[in-house]
Amino acid sequence: MVAVLKAVEEQGTVYHVKPGGAGQALAVEEFCLWYGAKQALFDVTMAVEKGLVTALIGPSGCGKSTLLRSLNRMNDLIDGLRIGGRIAFGGADIYAPDCDVIALRKRMGMVFQKPNPFPMSIYENVIYPLRVDGINDRRMLAETAERALRGSALWEEVKDRLHESALGLSGGQQQRLCIARAIAGDPEVLLMDEPCSALDPVATSKIEELIEELAGHYTIVIVTHNMQQAARVSDNTAFMYLGKLIEYGETETVFTTPKLEKTQEYVTGRFG
């Protein structure tokens, strides 16, 4: 571990792809974050490429969820939060004072660790992003609901009970409902914070299939604890450790021929 830290300190992050390439959706530049006095992220610099799936991996407490939640400013809710550096989305700094956080979040769907459907009907859950936009056109709402539910492969299962409570669905269905909700507002980016950690293996494989299907349409950033999952679904992988980005590159490279020993140890399951 000491060796790795030394390596990080000496070399900085090891990149297998050039950050700031042509098709980038999000650019994180020397991003730092403090919870009160405690620094959680150290000078993270990475580019999330458009239309690809980027996996954030690393042991617990490494800051991967913090980084993900910084992308749509969900961390704003926490008192005593400070940041440094910048995150650019479509060229504009999302932490700039004139940035409209609500508009930003509308452009980024988010799926959480535990399914969190609202205590409403399935239908109302899906069209929630439209409701908050004040859209009341019935046809548009119905079309969006169907499109989003088909998009999250849930349509066939729930089309006959759209107006029943969403809380009656199984865990996996609830999570796919949350994905439908996230894509109903037609975002550019999907942020997924360990979307399968509360699900059984069957539901997990369904979500993974779904991620692969969605990959072409959306830029997806996914935090995961599951190495196999990261290897299966992602195009790029970022390995984080103790708040620092250690190694970032194409998934195949990071998993098969990582430069750093620490990455090697983690992806092969020797620690973490």
Partner: protein
């Protein structure tokens, strides 16, 4: 690898330790069983007290209106008294009483350690003897019987009369008592009551409307005088209008008064002469009898009719006789209206305050201080709220409103005195801490994941609160409102300062614009209990009414709570099955 011998020894040691621990006296702390008994006992004790209280109130309340038999007691000196036996007890006769007794009686009293039984009779006929109740000791009573002819008359004035009908005058002609059957008396009485009802309608309703219209015109004139001065053209016009209306209304008044007078004259020609057990007579108009019956000759079905008609009178009529008789309808109405207004005032105020405290305010020292203050407010004596309500709401706010909007009515206050509005606002202030605390708890219990899910969808903070947080917190908020409602509906002390009165036959809602008169003083069941029980001429007569009114108040609060709880449960069911 451990040697087999060592393993054997280890096994033995473990077994030995196990034995030792079994043999050790079991620690009472670890068992917990006795604590369970203590906890269960405390609960059972609490339940027993509540059940006992409810049973006492319910039983006394339920039996009050059941007709009691009338006993005729022949006293030792030959006098006779008639009355309803109320209760019996043992008492210790004084030496001056004992001295007057014959030796046999003295010996009997001495045998029971100086105690003798006595019975309380409700002898009624207050107008004849100036006493409603009479104690009769066992040694005074020679015989007790229940003759079927004895009747009880409930009258509009002077309380009930116990005796018999001596003679009846119908339309000015006296009828011999043997000529009229019981059917005839009932028919005449029914007619007389209908006439009385009609007179009341004319006097209270129709003539009241004329007076109201006249008063409105006068107020309009004063208003014009204040606004534009008495020299203006508008004033002259209003004056002419008032004069026109005055003659107009005066004619209507005359017509109504004449009709009432005719009815009253007719009414005066139907009267009845009642005689008590001692033969003393009393003539009263037939319409002054509310109800009469002969309990000793009645079967239980007749008694049930009397019982139900008394209950109906109780919940639908106004009080008579300094509140000790008649009904409590204005009080029921006042209590319900007060409670509803209280909820309307306290719910938005408390919820909005809690929303700001929990969702928007920076959780720092300031908010902590505010929170502690709110909690402490719940401990301020309610009479202090009453004083505050009188000073701030009635005198300051109400006085200002009067000067701005009702100058024509001054110096008699409109809002500048206690009333329904100020009472409900005072109670709202009293109960708002309950709502704030409950709402804060409910808001805090909404899972973070819900809020994050909504915010991540691009909802603003307010949208998240309105669409996600508030609906989910609603059952908890409603619990707080229910608690506040129950607390407010049972509160009396502050109301005595800000609007409750002993008698207010004018309901806060009537047919005159603006229909809802929030400035009016009103009656309240809680205050009614205090008034009947402790402020009336005869506490013995008021006692049953205290129980009945308490029963009614408890029932009213119960009904309102059940209603609110049903609403809450419907909401809860909508959010049931959620897992987080």
């Amino acid at each position: 690898m451990v040697a087999p011998v060592a393993v054997e020894r280890l096994k033995l040691e473990v077994a030995g330790a196990r034995e030792a621990s079994r043999a050790r006296a079991v620690d009472i702390q670890s068992l917990g069983e006795p604590y369970l008994w203590a906890l269960g006992g405390a609960l059972a004790f609490g339940c027993l007290m509540i059940a006992g209280f409810l049973l006492l109130v319910a039983w006394n309340g339920v039996v009050t209106f059941w007709p009691k038999p009338i006993a005729v007691v022949t006293l030792a000196d030959g006098r006779k008294i008639a009355g309803e036996p109320i209760r019996s007890e043992l008492f210790r006769p004084g030496p001056e009483v004992l001295a007057k007794l014959v030796p046999d009686q003295r010996a009997a009293i001495a045998r029971s350690d100086g105690f003798a039984p006595r019975t309380l009779y409700r002898v009624a006929n207050y107008d004849l003897y100036g006493d409603d109740f009479l104690w009769v000791t066992s040694f005074e009573a020679r015989s007790v019987e229940q003759p079927p002819g004895m009747m009880l008359f409930e009258r509009l004035e002077w309380g009930p009369f116990i005796g018999t009908v001596k003679s009846l005058t119908a339309d000015g002609r006296q009828q011999a008592p043997d000529l009229l059957g019981p059917g005839e008396l009932a028919r005449l009485h029914g007619e007389a009551r209908a006439r009385w009802q009609r007179i009341r309608e004319i006097e209270r309703g129709d003539i009241g409307a004329v007076n109201h219209a006249l008063e409105q015109e006068r107020l309009r004139l004063r208003r014009v005088a204040i606004d534009q001065g008495e020299a203006s053209a508008a004033y002259a016009e209003a004056k002419a209008r008032l004069d026109r209306r005055q003659t107009d209304l005066g004619q209507r008044y005359e017509a109504l008064a004449a009709e009432a007078k005719a009815l009253k004259d007719r009414d005066a020609r139907d009267s009845v002469v009642l005689a008590d057990i001692a033969g003393k007579e009393k003539q009263i108009p037939l319409s002054a009898i509310v109800r009469y019956y002969a309990p000793n000759a009645m079967g239980w079905s007749d008694m049930l009719v009397v019982y139900l008609s008394r209950w109906w009178e109780f919940v639908s009529e106004e009080p008579r006789e300094a509140n000790t008789e008649g009904g409590v309808m204005p009080a029921i109405f006042g209590t319900a209206a007060l409670t509803i207004l209280l909820v309307i005032a306290v719910a938005p105020f408390g919820v909005v305050t809690a929303l700001y405290l929990r969702e928007y305010a920076r959780q720092g020292r300031m908010v902590a201080v505010v929170r502690i203050s709110v909690n402490n407010l719940a401990g301020v004596p309610s009479i202090v709220y009453g004083v505050f309500g009188l000073g701030f709401f009635a005198y300051f706010l109400g006085g200002t409103i009067d000067q701005l909007f009702y100058p024509e009515r001054l110096p008699s206050p409109t809002f500048g005195t206690g009333g329904l509005l100020w009472s409900s606002l005072t109670l709202a202030l009293l109960t708002v801490p309950v709502v704030i605390v409950a709402t804060e708890e409910a808001l805090a219990a909404v899972p973070r994941s819900m809020r994050e899910g909504s915010l991540a969808c691009g909802a603003s903070k307010w949208q998240t609160i309105r669409r996600i947080v508030l609906p989910r917190a609603m059952p908890g908020i409603l619990t707080g409102i229910i608690l506040a409602m129950a607390r407010g509906a049972g509160e009396v002390a502050p109301l005595m300062l800000v609007g409750v009165v002993k008698l207010a036959p004018e309901l806060p809602i009537d047919g005159y614009f603006p229909f809802l008169h929030l400035e009016r003083s009103f009656m309240h069941l809680g205050f009614h209990i205090y008034d009947v029980g402790f402020q009336s001429r005869n506490s013995e007569a008021g006692k049953p009414m205290v129980f009945v009114t308490t029963l009614l108040l408890v029932a009213l609060i119960f009904v309102m709570n059940i209603g609110a709880i049903m609403i809450r449960n419907r909401l809860k069911r909508r959010f049931a099955g959620s897992q987080f």
